[in-house]
Symmetry: D3
Subunit: 229 residues, 6 copies
């Protein structure tokens, strides 16, 4: 299945291990991004449509053309409980590809939410439904159903490659993609990082400086930092 192949729906995809996904779901996006080695983030223009929205699940992907949401109905059938729909568009479009009717359908199929490099509408209804959406735009502009795209092929969404089955984690800090094969090791690295942080947080709250806690004074001086009065 190559990237951007048009006119294909892949039915059987390998989803990341459920237990590992559940472990990842306990962490924030910043922590997981660090655990991945500082990669995997979508662009910062991807924002939640309501404050506090967050989601974690396995990706089913859909590629659409600008102003055309036909494939949204095709991807709906491929959703399994715990999935997140990741929607990419072949060129920039802020139109409203998704609204409360599709959200009702996606929710009935067990979707955890939507991540879309385009626009959505019916924000009030989606908020009332508490159906989490991370999007590039909000737009009432309607779309047509005229052109084929694909479902469950690899896509680039907001600057990040997403393969079907990858884990998608999104919160106030943005959206991160964890390749399915790396889910468990990423969850473990995130766990290690977080345990580590509790202790640091306590020290910093007590007034210990990062300069001392991280032993930065010496390397700063070596780099030439000068203190003056």
């Amino acid at each position: 299945m190559s990237i951007n192949q048009i006119g294909i729906v892949k039915r059987n995809i390998v989803r990341a291990d459920k237990g590992a996904v559940e472990r990842l779901a306990r962490f924030g996006v910043a922590t997981v991004h660090e655990a991945m080695g500082r990669v995997g983030l979508m662009k910062t223009y991807m924002r939640p449509i309501y404050a506090g929205a967050h989601l974690c699940g396995t990706a089913v992907t859909v590629l659409m053309h600008p102003g055309d949401n036909w494939m949204m109905h095709v991807v709906a059938e491929q959703i399994q409980p715990g999935d997140v729909v990741v929607a990419a568009v072949t060129s920039e479009s802020t139109d409203g590809f998704f609204g409360d009717l599709l959200a009702t359908s996606f929710k009935a199929r067990g979707a955890k939410g939507l991540v879309i490099d385009g626009g959505v509408r019916d924000v009030k209804d989606l908020t009332a439904m508490q159906f989490p959406v991370f999007s590039k735009a909000i737009s009432a502009k309607g779309t047509i159903k005229a052109t084929l795209g694909s479902v469950n092929i690899p896509v680039v969404c907001a600057g990040a490659l997403v393969n079907p089955g990858d884990v998608i984690l999104a919160d106030d800090d943005g959206v991160v993609v964890v390749p399915a094969a790396l889910t468990l090791q990423t969850a473990e690295a995130a766990q290690a990082r977080e345990s580590n942080e509790g202790d640091k947080r306590r020290k910093l709250a007590d007034g210990v400086l990062g300069l001392d806690m991280y032993n930065m004074r010496e390397p700063l001086a070596r780099a030439g930092l000068k203190y003056i009065d």
Copy 2:
């Protein structure tokens, strides 16, 4: 009255029918935009200054120059209860053309809110007053009172033509303009659309797929969509 004519205040304008406006006010922007045939939207950069802001009323228009809000005081006198002020600027400007004093005045005249292709300030006060504003920007930058514009001429605001008396509807999904002459038929089309949606929503909530409800499988196959495993 031609577009962009400078130095004119038109006092008598024909407002859309009050009853029809009230009927339109019951719908969301996305529904009304669809009822209009997918036209009439302002650009997606127009956002409410507080969550949940919404408005519906008849347009009184004002054209200003960048950084100059003199005409805001002129338009205030033309406001009648139920009006929405639609403010356009002759070139891009994010300055704060409007704040709590003007809002107090507009409210006293019966205005339902403001739609402005520029900036506003005193957001905290406007929120406390629950005076709905949809704007391009928020900016504390003050403006001067030096140059004539016009009031109640046709204007282009955020990419949409607005004639005085047109209906302006705005909510979380954006801002839509309904020409005065189309108010009633648009309200009826919106009503038809919404009745229609209730039934669809129930079916989708029960797990029926859009693919089946809209009979899309056959046209998708004809277009060449291929399912693979």
Copy 3:
């Protein structure tokens, strides 16, 4: 201490008078900007990371390189109670230079908040801590600690010059910088302006028009404004 000098930490800075800062803190950004003669604002892209965030304090400044937050730890040590950290970057960067650990440290030092021409992360935690941050972006992207910048030199942040010790005031309307030497006179001008506004607000609420209250009818006519029916 010249602008942009790299590799310097200035320890002793002259902060604006505490009493004058407290007086300024009672006003909104729009009022203070007007009291300054309509100057001193940062760009409108600087937004609070949570609704209702506001801050007022004396600036300690830090200059960093894109994607590198090493100097954040250096500036922490220079914070005194009542300070606001103002962070500039030598070129555009939306990376997450600041998160909950640094916020914990800054808070322990008595910081009133952060103003940064870059990105921050851990927005959920910062909101829970009610640590006010005004930033250009929100991003989970981690930063490195490799390159020297400076602390407490003059910096340009979001288009505004900030000298260490200046007063920084930020609320829903944006961020304004008051030079330390002008704090008292600005507080007084703001006070005068605000007393003035109460009376105007009452009149406008009673339906008096700005046209009459500000005697604008005559200058508008002189400028050529024409009323038509």
Copy 4:
């Protein structure tokens, strides 16, 4: 014919007077914009696809949907020698709606050029043909032919209202729209302005200051300007 009406082609439009168009064609966009009273400009993002492109002609308009150039073929038939095609899109789209084949067709019909609030492609060929295009974007992205728009209805293009038959003038400084009914008076005002400028230019070249030539010293002093050493 109301704005944004979908599915309509108007065949008979009233074009601005040919002689007046020829007179306007001798002036630059800045001069004509001033002659209009500082209105009528499209947004500054409209740029020529090659250096030195310029055009002047009567508008035939076309409204398209994002990513769909079907109506480009419909508008081609309505072109008469001396026309400029003005293309608007119902929402933001940078796709390539136009390339060398359509340019060949438009040219054969006598078109003077294209102004499009969207993208174009085949820039190398268009440059070789010296077919002037002012656009929002350059993009190789292909479009479909699936949805009706309209031809020769009023449209908003890059923030400016364009009625069929209006004069469109474009050069390095941007694009200006002159309503058909104002063509002659605008040409005369432009002529007056330009005659006027020749004399000013000579004086300024001789070292006379604008301060003196425009008698600005007194009003500046009255406004409070202070000279210091």
Copy 5:
């Protein structure tokens, strides 16, 4: 080799077939994008640094961190004659990652050019060298050499996935990526498309309308298009 893996240099990559690359080089970006089925384009913000720049070659990829061009020196060694360097950055950065010294080195290694989702500098020298560069920005800002990235891993550059060995074609219309395995078939499809276009161009130049040449009148009428006078 998974996407975004940090700290890796892959030495042996499979490049697209040389003969097929040469065939592709004869076509424009728009033609090849169409031949691919309307996919594979980078974002429209990628522009040549001088008019007329164009390139075609096999991708060697490099992933860098914002403001850090250390890996540019690592990728230089992996260049073989006929390669195009494709540079991605882990977050938005407009800094000048590349200038005349690196261009001298790349050219000595046989590089056909550079495509970079970031900034470059020394534009005057690069133009004099006629070393084609397509970039997001031009910036004199220098970068550091502190953090590892990777070479010859799959990267997302300006919204497009690029695997090492893929064909990169760039001209005035933008940048397109052709997967190595599809090079030959894409060249053939492009050839077929272009032969086809010569005949169309002649007909259109003779005044035949697209409406007739493409038999659009009947489907337009069926879709409901109405002609009025």
Copy 6:
């Protein structure tokens, strides 16, 4: 003279040493920026209005309000041969503050060019005059003459602090500001850097890799870089 003080014209300013300015003029912006320690650049949105424009001179500064170019006439009188006018605006504005008449006047006074954080017009004339301008925008939009700004106060222009008398250097790579007091030492550092580069360029042209020339192999290995086949 504090930043942003309104209503002031300073007549006597200390300009950078003429000989040192001449020495600086021989270098490119990228070289001088490096010689300054990688600081002093304006934002990358500042672009020449014609290809090949470049300038070097001493700054006279002007602060204007959006849409108001009154102070342009005031600054004209303060120009001395060899000066570059640096124009800042109190908030974002793309209007055309400057055109061929002002250019004629500035040129007659001996100005080397203009750097403006706003728009200009009459680009064709300015190009014919070969009067170099670096601006944020090109716009035919006219401005008014109603509000005081200041001349020869410190200003922030496109993100950089400029003091009157500083050296401004601009070419295809952007705009850099050199504080008057640092002119000579910067010229010397630039000279050293450039001598240095000639040798490097020759080696790289001969196929020597930066990896070897800069001894990077060992630090890369230490940082953990892995080569695989």
